[in-house]
Symmetry: C2
Subunit: 412 residues, 2 copies
């Protein structure tokens, strides 16, 4: 088996040619990748079948994430085409100015270099991440889970075939086939080779990255998201938004986990909420229990801090906007936080004072997603503040370079 | 003594008021800080005198960095005023767009939260870093060296007095007085409290941050900077630029360490270079030795990788632009790299293909500095690619927040 550092060094070597390639050449490579993935559908399905057969110890949700079918493979190819449809980010001028001495300064977007992604069961990450990395001029080193190794091998083979067909070096996409913990640790410590490591997975993976990684990382963290229903809220907006944010896809990070309701409207709002949340288990504070005793159980302190990722919703009555902001500051994970209000002052304060990757006014938290926000696709959603916050698209996989041009100027 | 986490938590608590303060209020606080530093000049000098008396094991360069005098204190105050003279970065809209469903999306600059700075002898970092952090709405936790503890205490006392006078909470600036290694490690691991840690110092400090830090970091790394003199170079530009980049202040990171000369012009260029580099020790390759045998000694392999930080210059003859780019890729540290050329094609390729925080055309590497580039001041120069690359000013101490506004939209 090729070692971790051999895989990564091959990607690093190959990336220099990619960095020189034009936007048109990178777009062509993505379209060829998409065709190659679609064309390899039966080989990928066979490999995925092997993974599904061998899977042990995975729960139904994990098995569902691992499973591929013809429609999911077509979606994978479409996702790659979606990235290629975006404007090119490489070489874009961020800003520029002229110094008093005549020197021109500009900041230009450049690829980060080599992106590392360490992830769990979803094979579609293999295609999405490769497309975003390559389109932004980066090489990519992938390290999926052992449960998806056959699927990932087949997808990477297709991707590489597409890249080769388009005339770029296939070596820009590397797959670490050693799925041991030691290999993961070695991956996280490839200083000078991996320019940015993005872990996508559960708490254990994130903790291990925080502890072991010595290369720069972007953390795709938890989403304990809130919706605050202000005193002035229009319930005709609030009810569909809460239902959408909780029930459309409860297992994802931008689903809502706690709804905060202003005390002045709680007697009307809480029963209406219960009405639209059919099949959702409600865990409320004491006041909520008084209003809908037959529908709610008492929330524990731990519930406020829990990302349920299922049809469970915590509901709390708050006395004021301040108390709502305070609750979010205490329990939120800095992912997506929404206010439903008709009051411009409340909206303004919420937007300014809530510290999160995304703050929303009168819209569902489910919109916090690279595809939904028009960014083509995403390699994850950053909950950290450094480098990139929120959905990570192609632009977020770039750095800037100062370009400084003069005619012989020296510093005095 | 107050513990590390007590210092940091007090800063975190105080920062929320700062985040709500207007740009005018933050500017006023900086001007009051500057006045307070200037007003406390004699107290700061007394404290610095204690540090100088107690100093042991410091070399002359380190002692020089530690030493304050009335003029240096005035420069410190002026530096703070320079930051206040910049445009406010907090709340600036980075970009924005409208989705097909009518939702408005914008990305807005927000403070990172709490900045940590860990540094060595220079007491002026205390003032510069505090000014940049506060102006961008951040709290700051400072951890200087034990050799500068009295100076730092006096400067922080003045800064806090200024902030209080301006009506903002003095708690936004915290000083860790425990200068033990254990305290440093605890500081580097204050997850959820320190949003960004910036180490400023030598290799040992950077290695310890890479190894121990679990909070996000921005590395202010080494500067093994190059100037490539192209075949088409105008020597009337090249000579003053090399002299300036090597001799004006050899001990800093943006000074040049290696000059690469195109073979076609080496016989004329190398003696001219030797002529303007009076007092500079030249370590050349074999060809350089043949041209100026009386002036140069033979460079070792290690010399190409060395940041001399003194009046020593490595000189190598290269056959082509490609070889120059390859040399820089091999030995450079991604700081500042310059080309001297009259050929637009060579300039274009150098700018595109050299991977560094700053690439320069026909200008001295010494311009790669926040103050020189019109950014007010700098808290360091990042040689990493994530988040910020190059000089770190107030803007680089911000993050972005997605603000998403609708009228009840839900995801379908």
């Amino acid at each position: 088996m090729v070692t971790v550092s051999e895989v990564a060094l091959e990607v690093k070597r190959s990336q220099r040619a990619l960095a020189r390639a034009s936007g048109a050449a990178r777009r062509k490579a993505l379209l060829a990748m998409a065709d190659a993935i679609a064309g390899a559908s039966s080989a990928i399905l066979t490999a995925n079948h092997e993974d599904m057969e061998a899977a042990s110890g995975l729960d139904p949700a994990q098995l569902d994430r691992l499973r591929l079918n013809p429609s999911r493979i077509e979606q994978m190819a479409e996702g790659v085409r979606g990235v290629a449809a975006q404007a090119d980010v490489v070489g874009a001028i961020v800003d520029g100015w002229v110094l008093g001495n005549g020197i021109r300064v500009k900041r230009v977007r450049v690829p980060l270099g080599v992106i590392g992604v360490i992830y769990e069961n979803r094979p579609n990450v293999t295609a999405d991440a490769s497309a975003l990395a390559l389109y932004s001029g980066n090489g990519i080193v992938l390290r999926g889970s052992s449960s998806a190794i056959n699927s990932n091998r087949a997808i990477v083979a297709a991707i590489r075939e597409g890249i080769t067909r388009a005339g770029l070096p296939a070596g820009v996409v590397g797959l670490i086939e050693d799925t041991s913990r030691e290999a993961a640790r070695e991956f996280m410590q490839l200083e000078g080779v991996i320019d940015c490591l993005i872990p996508r997975g559960g708490k254990a993976l994130l903790a291990s990255v925080r502890e072991s990684a010595t290369v720069p990382t972007i953390i795709d963290g938890d989403g304990n998201c809130h919706i605050y229903i202000d005193r002035s809220a229009d319930m005709e907006k609030a009810l569909p938004i809460v239902a959408n944010a909780k029930m459309q896809r409860p297992g994802v990070c931008n689903a809502v986990e706690t709804v905060l309701v202003h005390a002045d409207i709680a007697n009307e709002a809480v029963p209406l909420l219960a009405g639209v949340l059919a099949g959702v288990e409600i865990r409320g504070d004491k006041q909520v229990l008084e209003i809908i005793p037959e529908r709610a159980t008492l929330a524990s302190e731990a519930d406020w801090a829990t990302e349920f990722l299922s049809l469970v919703l915590a509901v709390r009555i708050v006395d004021s906007l301040d108390q709502a902001i305070e609750h979010i500051a205490t329990y939120g994970t800095g992912h997506s936080e929404a206010i439903i209000t008709e009051d411009i002052g409340s909206a303004g304060r919420f937007v300014k004072e809530v510290d999160a990757a995304a703050v929303l006014v009168n819209a569902s938290t489910r919109f916090v997603d690279g595809g939904q926000l028009g960014m083509g696709a995403e390699i994850g959603i950053s909950t950290q503040k450094l480098h990139a916050r929120g959905p990570l698209g192609a632009e977020q996989l770039t750095s800037v370079k100062f370009v400084i041009e003069g005619e012989g100027q020296v510093r005095s």
